[in-house]
């Protein structure tokens, strides 16, 4: 409950130019926001489909299709719609113009009025912009579908490096590998993907996939199996799990300009799965230095290391984009659950069963794996998790 209150308070702190919060997350009986969707003008197949998918994946909207219902605004309001999202499209050759209006149906005020102009080839991106705008109006928070996620998909013993458009519920296979692939991580500028690949030499090293060109090059390497790269916020260095001491994994910093390594942890235990805080001053990682794998934090300024979780198998930490929480996976009674650790209070809550969590770019959702597929769940709204895809998915990352 306290968590939800904090969330509501955050809306006010952001001080956006609207005085009304539509989603009442403090109410346990909070219902979805009714959105009357009025798509008019020329049909644009990709735009229309992706906009509807986006609204579904957000999970907080109940959509009323205006064209099918043929109701007036007043009737829509009585039927349960809180907002009217009106999208009027016109196209001339390759150029598309979209007039976007978001109207509050309770008092008839226009909350947003915008004109978007884009190329036909950018329909999907434009649909994400509209959905993210609606999310911003409703919650006061930034949207999230403007940024894609990365993951590994295992099909018939092959490993696919995959680029995921979460809102559109679609993905693109960037490259297929025979050898195992782990832990893709998108660079802060969204142009590169660092990942771990077992090369023909029988050893994992850190590689970088360049999205614009599709090229792959080795970036960081030690004599042991290197894995779990995480980007520093400036995009110039990676933190990963590697071997300076021969038989024991430590957290290392790799300067991408010259491949030089700096050792950040020294223990006889396994240190792996680092996740850099958004300000780049701390690193969460997994260590079994106290007998069980648990999440620890290293403060890069003071050099201090302290444990935060208390379970008997806590792995896969991911630092929240807002900085105040760490998501991780914990094994309790034979099943894995996602835990969200609050760094200020030390409290943990468990939003969903699953593994390998990664925060959405706005910090309101997590994407994670569970037997049977890749899932997304809102951390704040009263909505059920959505399964994005079926199959064997590994190490999603969406920061």
């Amino acid at each position: 409950m306290k968590r939800l209150l904090v969330f509501v308070l955050m809306f006010f702190c952001f001080g956006e130019a609207f005085g009304k919060i539509y989603i009442d997350v403090t109410s346990p009986a909070s219902t979805k926001i009714g959105v009357a969707l009025d798509l008019s003008g020329v049909p644009l197949k990709d735009f229309d489909v992706v906009l509807k998918r986006d609204l579904m994946v957000y999970g907080i909207f109940a959509v009323y299709p205006v064209s099918k219902l043929a109701l007036t605004e007043e009737e829509l309001r009585i039927a349960g719609a809180d907002l009217l999202l009106s999208v009027d499209k016109s196209a001339f050759r390759q150029q598309v113009k979209v007039s976007l209006v978001i109207k509050d149906l309770t008092d008839g005020t226009v909350v947003v009025q915008k004109l978007l102009t884009f190329d036909r080839s950018a329909q999907i991106k434009a649909a994400h912009m509209v959905a993210d705008e609606l999310y911003r109006v409703v919650t006061g928070n930034k949207g999230m579908f403007y940024r894609n996620a990365v993951a590994v998909r295992k099909v018939l013993g092959r490993y696919q490096l995959v680029y995921v458009d979460v809102g559109a519920m679609s993905f693109k296979v960037l490259k297929v590998f025979k050898q195992p692939v782990q832990s893709p991580a998108m660079s802060p500028d969204g142009k590169k993907i660092a990942f771990a690949l077992m090369s023909g030499e029988g050893n994992f090293d850190i590689y970088i996939y360049d999205l614009p060109t599709g090229g792959i090059k080795k970036a960081c390497s030690t004599p042991g199996p290197d894995t779990a790269p995480s980007w520093m916020p400036d995009g110039r260095a990676l933190v990963f799990s590697g071997y300076v001491a021969k038989d024991n994994a430590d957290i290392l910093l790799c300067d991408l300009s010259n491949g030089r390594l700096k050792r950040l942890t020294r223990s006889m235990a396994i240190d792996t799965s680092p996740s850099v805080s958004p300000d780049g001053t701390k690193i969460a990682f997994v260590s079994n230095r106290d007998g069980y794998p648990r999440v620890y934090v290293k403060d890069l300024k003071t050099g201090l290391i302290y444990g935060i979780t208390k379970g008997t198998y806590d792995v896969s930490p991911d630092w929240s984009p807002k900085g105040g929480e760490i998501a991780y996976a914990t094994l309790v009674g034979g099943t894995f659950r996602i835990g969200i650790y609050n760094l200020a209070t030390g409290d943990v809550y468990y939003p969903a069963p699953g593994e390998d969590p990664s925060w959405s770019p706005n910090g309101d959702y997590i994407i994670y794996t569970k037997s049977g597929g890749l899932f997304i769940s809102s951390l704040y709204a009263n909505s059920k998790p959505t399964r994005l895809f079926v199959g064997k998915w590994l190490n999603p990352e969406w920061r």
């Binding site: 195992p180 782990q182 023909g200 030499e201 038989d247 396994i270 799965s273 896969s316 390998d356």
Partner: protein, 192 residues
Amino acid sequence: MRWVVFFSVFVMLFALGCSRQEKVVVSEGQEVTAQQRIAQGKEGVTPGEAVGQGEVSSKEYTPSTQMESQQPSGCELREFPNIHFAFDRYDLNEEAKRILSEIADYMKKCPDVILTIEGHCDERGSNEYNLALGWKRANEAKKFLVTLGIDSSRIITVSYGEERPLCYEHNEECWAKNRRDHFVFCRGQCLK
């Protein structure tokens, strides 16, 4: 009568299928040795050293084949059973130590064999942590062999984490089989 013919054809096909499977296993073994060969090359820290190692091993190659013809008994490439571990552990149990002692005896008797130890984990938990755990499992066995007097340069360690299970079901019986060190031997020439 027709059914008998069908049945015998089916049995033959089945047998063919089996023999094909065996072939796959053999080619897998070859793949592993190819990996070992390069992995050994990678042990050298600088490229210069790696080249040096290669030269040494190719010189060793000729005498080792002579030795092979001199001592044919007991020095053919052998298979040893896997050793197993508890969940999230890499300490060696008594059974594992017994198998490793046998391996040490064999390696002492046959000084030209090189051992690759593959560390594996079950499917549970994070693949990143399991990769490090598999490495610990392989290196724990290596340390034990070194204490028994085997030169550490004759032992290569590889971790596959949870990526190469033997058994694909989701139960403890299967997981126990997958938490293992697997031993692959090759001779000097595999370093070429």
